[in-house]
Protein backbone atom coordinates (compact mmCIF):
# COMPACT_ATOMS: atom_id res chain seq x y z
CA UNK A 1 0.00 0.00 0.00
CA UNK A 2 1.56 3.24 -1.01
CA UNK A 3 1.00 6.30 1.11
CA UNK A 4 0.55 9.77 -0.33
CA UNK A 5 0.95 12.69 2.01
CA UNK A 6 -0.57 15.77 0.40
CA UNK A 7 0.63 18.07 3.17
CA UNK A 8 4.25 17.29 2.21
CA UNK A 9 3.55 16.31 -1.42
CA UNK A 10 5.27 13.02 -0.81
CA UNK A 11 4.70 9.47 -2.06
CA UNK A 12 5.98 6.42 -0.17
CA UNK A 13 6.11 3.08 -2.00
CA UNK A 14 7.25 -0.36 -0.92
CA UNK A 15 9.41 -2.52 -3.17
CA UNK A 16 10.21 -6.09 -2.13
CA UNK A 17 13.19 -8.12 -3.40
CA UNK A 18 12.00 -11.72 -3.68
CA UNK A 19 13.66 -14.93 -4.82
CA UNK A 20 15.25 -18.20 -3.73
CA UNK A 21 17.57 -18.37 -0.72
CA UNK A 22 21.14 -17.19 -1.19
CA UNK A 23 20.28 -15.70 -4.56
CA UNK A 24 21.62 -12.22 -3.84
CA UNK A 25 18.67 -10.17 -2.59
CA UNK A 26 20.51 -8.78 0.41
CA UNK A 27 23.61 -8.25 -1.72
CA UNK A 28 21.54 -6.05 -4.07
CA UNK A 29 20.47 -3.87 -1.14
CA UNK A 30 23.98 -3.75 0.29
CA UNK A 31 25.33 -2.56 -3.03
CA UNK A 32 22.67 0.16 -3.31
CA UNK A 33 23.43 1.19 0.27
CA UNK A 34 27.16 1.43 -0.38
CA UNK A 35 26.85 3.22 -3.69
CA UNK A 36 24.36 5.92 -2.70
CA UNK A 37 25.14 9.06 -0.76
CA UNK A 38 23.69 9.64 2.68
CA UNK A 39 21.51 12.42 1.31
CA UNK A 40 19.60 9.88 -0.72
CA UNK A 41 19.52 6.83 1.47
CA UNK A 42 18.49 6.18 5.04
CA UNK A 43 19.95 3.65 7.42
CA UNK A 44 19.93 0.04 6.30
CA UNK A 45 18.34 -2.26 8.82
CA UNK A 46 19.12 -5.96 8.85
CA UNK A 47 17.37 -8.15 11.37
CA UNK A 48 18.86 -11.21 13.02
CA UNK A 49 20.80 -12.92 10.35
CA UNK A 50 21.86 -16.45 10.96
CA UNK A 51 25.10 -16.89 9.06
CA UNK A 52 24.59 -15.27 5.66
CA UNK A 53 20.86 -15.90 5.52
CA UNK A 54 18.18 -13.31 6.11
CA UNK A 55 15.85 -14.43 8.88
CA UNK A 56 13.25 -11.69 8.83
CA UNK A 57 14.03 -8.93 6.35
CA UNK A 58 16.44 -6.18 5.33
CA UNK A 59 15.18 -2.67 4.93
CA UNK A 60 16.60 0.34 3.10
CA UNK A 61 14.73 3.62 2.60
CA UNK A 62 15.63 5.82 -0.39
CA UNK A 63 14.61 9.31 -1.44
CA UNK A 64 14.58 9.33 -5.22
CA UNK A 65 14.00 13.01 -5.90
CA UNK A 66 10.93 14.63 -7.38
CA UNK A 67 8.52 13.90 -10.16
CA UNK A 68 6.60 17.04 -11.01
CA UNK A 69 5.74 18.27 -7.55
CA UNK A 70 5.85 14.98 -5.65
CA UNK A 71 8.84 13.75 -3.64
CA UNK A 72 9.33 10.04 -4.18
CA UNK A 73 10.36 7.84 -1.29
CA UNK A 74 10.92 4.17 -1.90
CA UNK A 75 11.44 1.60 0.77
CA UNK A 76 13.33 -1.52 -0.25
CA UNK A 77 12.74 -4.77 1.61
CA UNK A 78 14.14 -8.26 1.14
CA UNK A 79 12.48 -11.49 2.24
CA UNK A 80 14.12 -14.67 3.53
CA UNK A 81 14.37 -16.98 0.54
CA UNK A 82 14.41 -20.35 2.27
CA UNK A 83 11.22 -22.34 1.70
CA UNK A 84 10.44 -22.78 5.39
CA UNK A 85 10.15 -19.05 6.05
CA UNK A 86 6.95 -18.52 4.08
CA UNK A 87 5.06 -16.92 6.98
CA UNK A 88 7.76 -14.25 7.17
CA UNK A 89 7.66 -13.66 3.42
CA UNK A 90 3.90 -13.07 3.58
CA UNK A 91 4.41 -10.55 6.36
CA UNK A 92 7.00 -8.59 4.42
CA UNK A 93 4.88 -8.67 1.26
CA UNK A 94 2.03 -6.92 3.07
CA UNK A 95 1.23 -3.70 1.26
CA UNK A 96 3.82 -4.25 -1.50
CA UNK A 97 3.76 -1.88 -4.50
CA UNK A 98 6.48 -3.45 -6.66
CA UNK A 99 8.58 -6.63 -6.74
CA UNK A 100 12.09 -7.43 -7.95
CA UNK A 101 12.54 -11.16 -8.42
CA UNK A 102 16.21 -12.04 -8.02
CA UNK A 103 16.79 -15.37 -9.75
CA UNK A 104 19.94 -17.41 -9.19
CA UNK A 105 21.86 -18.27 -12.37
CA UNK A 106 23.46 -21.38 -10.85
CA UNK A 107 22.33 -24.48 -12.74
CA UNK A 108 21.62 -26.30 -9.47
CA UNK A 109 19.15 -23.57 -8.53
CA UNK A 110 16.94 -24.01 -11.63
CA UNK A 111 14.08 -25.67 -9.73
CA UNK A 112 14.42 -23.33 -6.75
CA UNK A 113 13.91 -20.29 -9.00
CA UNK A 114 10.69 -21.72 -10.42
CA UNK A 115 9.44 -22.76 -6.97
CA UNK A 116 10.15 -19.33 -5.53
CA UNK A 117 8.36 -17.53 -8.37
CA UNK A 118 5.35 -19.84 -7.87
CA UNK A 119 5.47 -19.07 -4.19
CA UNK A 120 5.45 -15.34 -4.98
CA UNK A 121 2.45 -15.82 -7.27
CA UNK A 122 0.56 -17.69 -4.52
CA UNK A 123 1.43 -15.26 -1.74
CA UNK A 124 0.39 -12.28 -3.86
CA UNK A 125 -2.84 -14.04 -4.84
CA UNK A 126 -3.66 -14.52 -1.16
CA UNK A 127 -3.53 -10.75 -0.85
CA UNK A 128 -5.70 -10.41 -3.98
CA UNK A 129 -2.81 -9.21 -6.12
CA UNK A 130 -2.36 -10.67 -9.59
CA UNK A 131 1.32 -11.27 -10.39
CA UNK A 132 0.57 -10.06 -13.92
CA UNK A 133 -0.73 -6.71 -12.64
CA UNK A 134 1.84 -5.66 -10.05
CA UNK A 135 5.05 -3.93 -11.24
CA UNK A 136 7.61 -6.73 -11.48
CA UNK A 137 11.18 -6.88 -12.75
CA UNK A 138 13.39 -9.98 -13.01
CA UNK A 139 17.11 -9.99 -12.31
CA UNK A 140 19.20 -12.95 -13.43
CA UNK A 141 21.91 -12.69 -10.83
CA UNK A 142 25.41 -14.17 -10.53
CA UNK A 143 26.20 -13.82 -14.26
CA UNK A 144 29.83 -13.18 -13.27
CA UNK A 145 30.14 -16.92 -12.65
CA UNK A 146 29.82 -17.40 -16.42
CA UNK A 147 33.54 -17.65 -16.98
CA UNK A 148 34.18 -20.02 -14.06
CA UNK A 149 33.88 -23.79 -13.93
CA UNK A 150 30.56 -23.60 -12.04
CA UNK A 151 27.71 -24.56 -14.39
CA UNK A 152 25.22 -21.74 -14.89
CA UNK A 153 21.91 -21.44 -16.70
CA UNK A 154 21.80 -19.57 -19.99
CA UNK A 155 19.73 -16.39 -20.10
CA UNK A 156 17.45 -18.06 -22.68
CA UNK A 157 16.82 -20.95 -20.31
CA UNK A 158 16.00 -18.59 -17.46
CA UNK A 159 13.69 -16.59 -19.69
CA UNK A 160 11.94 -19.81 -20.69
CA UNK A 161 11.61 -20.97 -17.06
CA UNK A 162 10.56 -17.71 -15.46
CA UNK A 163 9.48 -15.09 -17.95
CA UNK A 164 7.71 -17.04 -20.64
CA UNK A 165 4.24 -16.12 -19.47
CA UNK A 166 4.99 -12.98 -17.50
CA UNK A 167 6.93 -11.10 -20.20
CA UNK A 168 8.25 -8.50 -17.76
CA UNK A 169 11.50 -6.51 -18.06
CA UNK A 170 14.62 -8.42 -17.02
CA UNK A 171 18.24 -7.63 -16.38
CA UNK A 172 21.34 -9.73 -16.02
CA UNK A 173 23.23 -8.91 -12.87
CA UNK A 174 26.13 -9.51 -10.61
CA UNK A 175 25.01 -7.98 -7.36
CA UNK A 176 28.38 -8.58 -5.73
CA UNK A 177 30.08 -6.38 -8.34
CA UNK A 178 27.11 -4.08 -8.78
CA UNK A 179 26.36 -5.03 -12.39
CA UNK A 180 22.66 -4.64 -13.14
CA UNK A 181 21.80 -3.51 -9.62
CA UNK A 182 20.94 0.07 -10.51
CA UNK A 183 19.35 -0.87 -13.84
CA UNK A 184 17.00 -3.15 -11.91
CA UNK A 185 16.29 -0.56 -9.24
CA UNK A 186 15.68 2.18 -11.81
CA UNK A 187 13.20 0.05 -13.76
CA UNK A 188 11.20 -1.15 -10.74
CA UNK A 189 11.10 2.37 -9.28
CA UNK A 190 9.86 3.77 -12.57
CA UNK A 191 7.16 1.13 -12.92
CA UNK A 192 6.06 1.32 -9.29
CA UNK A 193 5.78 5.10 -9.24
CA UNK A 194 3.93 5.03 -12.57
CA UNK A 195 1.42 2.51 -11.27
CA UNK A 196 0.91 4.39 -8.01
CA UNK A 197 0.38 7.70 -9.81
CA UNK A 198 -2.00 6.05 -12.27
CA UNK A 199 -4.08 4.78 -9.36
CA UNK A 200 -3.91 8.21 -7.75
CA UNK A 201 -5.14 9.94 -10.88
CA UNK A 202 -8.00 7.51 -11.35
CA UNK A 203 -9.37 8.23 -7.91
Amino acid sequence: MSFIDLSKNEVQCKVVYYGPGRGGKTTNLLYVHQAMTEAVRGKMVTIDTKGDRTLFFDFLPLALGKIQNLSIKIQLYTVPGQVMYNATRKLVLKGVDGVVFVADSLKVQKEKNVESLDNLRQNLAEDNIDIGEIPLVLQYNKRDLGGSNIPILSVEEMEEDLNNRLQVPWFTGSALKGDGVFETLREISKRTVKQVSRKLLSR
Partner: protein, 131 residues
Protein backbone atom coordinates in the same frame (compact mmCIF):
# COMPACT_ATOMS: atom_id res chain seq x y z
CA UNK B 1 -5.55 -0.01 -1.54
CA UNK B 2 -3.53 3.16 -1.43
CA UNK B 3 -3.81 5.73 1.27
CA UNK B 4 -4.03 9.39 0.33
CA UNK B 5 -4.26 11.89 3.14
CA UNK B 6 -5.07 15.55 2.58
CA UNK B 7 -3.35 18.39 4.36
CA UNK B 8 -6.43 18.78 6.51
CA UNK B 9 -6.47 15.10 7.52
CA UNK B 10 -2.77 15.24 8.43
CA UNK B 11 -3.40 18.39 10.50
CA UNK B 12 -6.24 16.64 12.31
CA UNK B 13 -4.01 13.67 13.13
CA UNK B 14 -1.26 16.01 14.35
CA UNK B 15 -3.79 17.84 16.53
CA UNK B 16 -5.04 14.62 18.13
CA UNK B 17 -1.52 13.30 18.84
CA UNK B 18 -0.32 16.61 20.27
CA UNK B 19 -3.39 17.23 22.38
CA UNK B 20 -3.71 13.81 23.95
CA UNK B 21 -0.35 12.11 23.91
CA UNK B 22 2.32 14.78 24.01
CA UNK B 23 0.42 16.81 26.59
CA UNK B 24 0.13 13.69 28.72
CA UNK B 25 3.92 13.48 28.80
CA UNK B 26 4.75 11.14 25.92
CA UNK B 27 8.14 11.93 24.34
CA UNK B 28 7.10 10.99 20.89
CA UNK B 29 4.03 9.68 19.03
CA UNK B 30 4.08 8.12 15.58
CA UNK B 31 1.35 6.85 13.34
CA UNK B 32 2.43 4.18 10.83
CA UNK B 33 0.59 1.80 8.55
CA UNK B 34 0.95 -1.95 8.73
CA UNK B 35 3.03 -2.11 5.60
CA UNK B 36 5.65 0.05 7.34
CA UNK B 37 4.93 3.53 5.93
CA UNK B 38 5.46 6.40 8.32
CA UNK B 39 2.42 8.66 8.29
CA UNK B 40 2.97 11.21 11.05
CA UNK B 41 5.68 11.83 13.65
CA UNK B 42 5.16 14.14 16.60
CA UNK B 43 7.32 15.02 19.57
CA UNK B 44 11.06 15.14 19.71
CA UNK B 45 12.51 12.27 17.76
CA UNK B 46 16.08 13.62 17.79
CA UNK B 47 18.58 10.83 17.18
CA UNK B 48 15.72 8.46 16.50
CA UNK B 49 15.55 6.79 13.10
CA UNK B 50 11.78 7.10 12.70
CA UNK B 51 11.69 5.50 9.24
CA UNK B 52 13.37 2.34 10.52
CA UNK B 53 11.18 2.43 13.62
CA UNK B 54 8.08 2.47 11.40
CA UNK B 55 9.26 -0.52 9.33
CA UNK B 56 10.33 -2.53 12.37
CA UNK B 57 7.14 -1.75 14.27
CA UNK B 58 4.99 -2.96 11.38
CA UNK B 59 7.05 -6.15 11.24
CA UNK B 60 6.87 -6.56 15.01
CA UNK B 61 3.11 -6.18 14.94
CA UNK B 62 2.85 -8.62 12.04
CA UNK B 63 4.95 -11.19 13.87
CA UNK B 64 2.92 -10.91 17.07
CA UNK B 65 -0.31 -11.23 15.06
CA UNK B 66 0.98 -14.64 14.00
CA UNK B 67 1.59 -15.48 17.68
CA UNK B 68 -1.98 -14.34 18.40
CA UNK B 69 -3.28 -16.73 15.76
CA UNK B 70 -1.33 -19.61 17.31
CA UNK B 71 -3.24 -19.14 20.56
CA UNK B 72 -6.60 -18.67 18.88
CA UNK B 73 -6.75 -14.85 18.82
CA UNK B 74 -7.14 -12.77 15.67
CA UNK B 75 -4.71 -10.12 16.72
CA UNK B 76 -3.37 -8.34 19.79
CA UNK B 77 -4.74 -4.85 20.32
CA UNK B 78 -1.62 -3.51 22.02
CA UNK B 79 2.01 -4.30 22.73
CA UNK B 80 4.25 -2.81 25.35
CA UNK B 81 8.03 -2.94 25.66
CA UNK B 82 9.65 -1.68 28.83
CA UNK B 83 13.16 -0.30 28.86
CA UNK B 84 15.35 1.11 31.62
CA UNK B 85 14.54 4.71 30.81
CA UNK B 86 12.34 4.66 27.74
CA UNK B 87 9.24 2.60 27.07
CA UNK B 88 7.36 1.96 23.88
CA UNK B 89 3.67 1.26 23.49
CA UNK B 90 2.02 0.05 20.28
CA UNK B 91 -1.72 0.25 19.72
CA UNK B 92 -3.66 -1.16 16.81
CA UNK B 93 -5.68 1.55 15.05
CA UNK B 94 -8.40 0.01 12.89
CA UNK B 95 -7.21 -2.81 10.69
CA UNK B 96 -4.38 -1.10 8.90
CA UNK B 97 -2.55 1.25 11.28
CA UNK B 98 -0.39 1.29 14.39
CA UNK B 99 0.04 4.09 16.90
CA UNK B 100 3.49 4.10 18.51
CA UNK B 101 4.02 6.02 21.74
CA UNK B 102 7.41 6.53 23.37
CA UNK B 103 7.44 7.64 26.97
CA UNK B 104 9.87 7.85 29.87
CA UNK B 105 9.83 6.27 33.30
CA UNK B 106 8.07 9.25 34.87
CA UNK B 107 4.89 8.71 32.88
CA UNK B 108 2.51 5.99 34.00
CA UNK B 109 1.58 3.19 31.64
CA UNK B 110 -2.04 3.46 32.77
CA UNK B 111 -2.25 7.07 31.59
CA UNK B 112 -0.73 6.17 28.21
CA UNK B 113 -3.19 3.30 27.81
CA UNK B 114 -6.10 5.57 28.63
CA UNK B 115 -4.92 8.24 26.21
CA UNK B 116 -4.08 5.87 23.36
CA UNK B 117 -7.56 4.33 23.62
CA UNK B 118 -9.07 7.80 23.21
CA UNK B 119 -6.69 8.74 20.40
CA UNK B 120 -7.46 5.51 18.55
CA UNK B 121 -11.19 6.30 18.57
CA UNK B 122 -10.47 9.75 17.16
CA UNK B 123 -8.02 8.58 14.49
CA UNK B 124 -10.16 5.88 12.90
CA UNK B 125 -12.72 8.23 11.29
CA UNK B 126 -9.91 10.49 9.99
CA UNK B 127 -8.05 7.58 8.43
CA UNK B 128 -11.12 6.01 6.89
CA UNK B 129 -12.24 9.35 5.48
CA UNK B 130 -15.42 9.44 7.55
CA UNK B 131 -14.60 12.79 9.00
Amino acid sequence: MDLVLSKEAINNIVGVLDEDLLRAGADCALLVDRSGNLIVTRGDPANLDVVALAALSAANFGATSEIAKLIGEDDFALLFHKGKNENIHFTKVGKGFILITLFGKDVSLGLIRLKTAKVTDQLIPILTGEQ
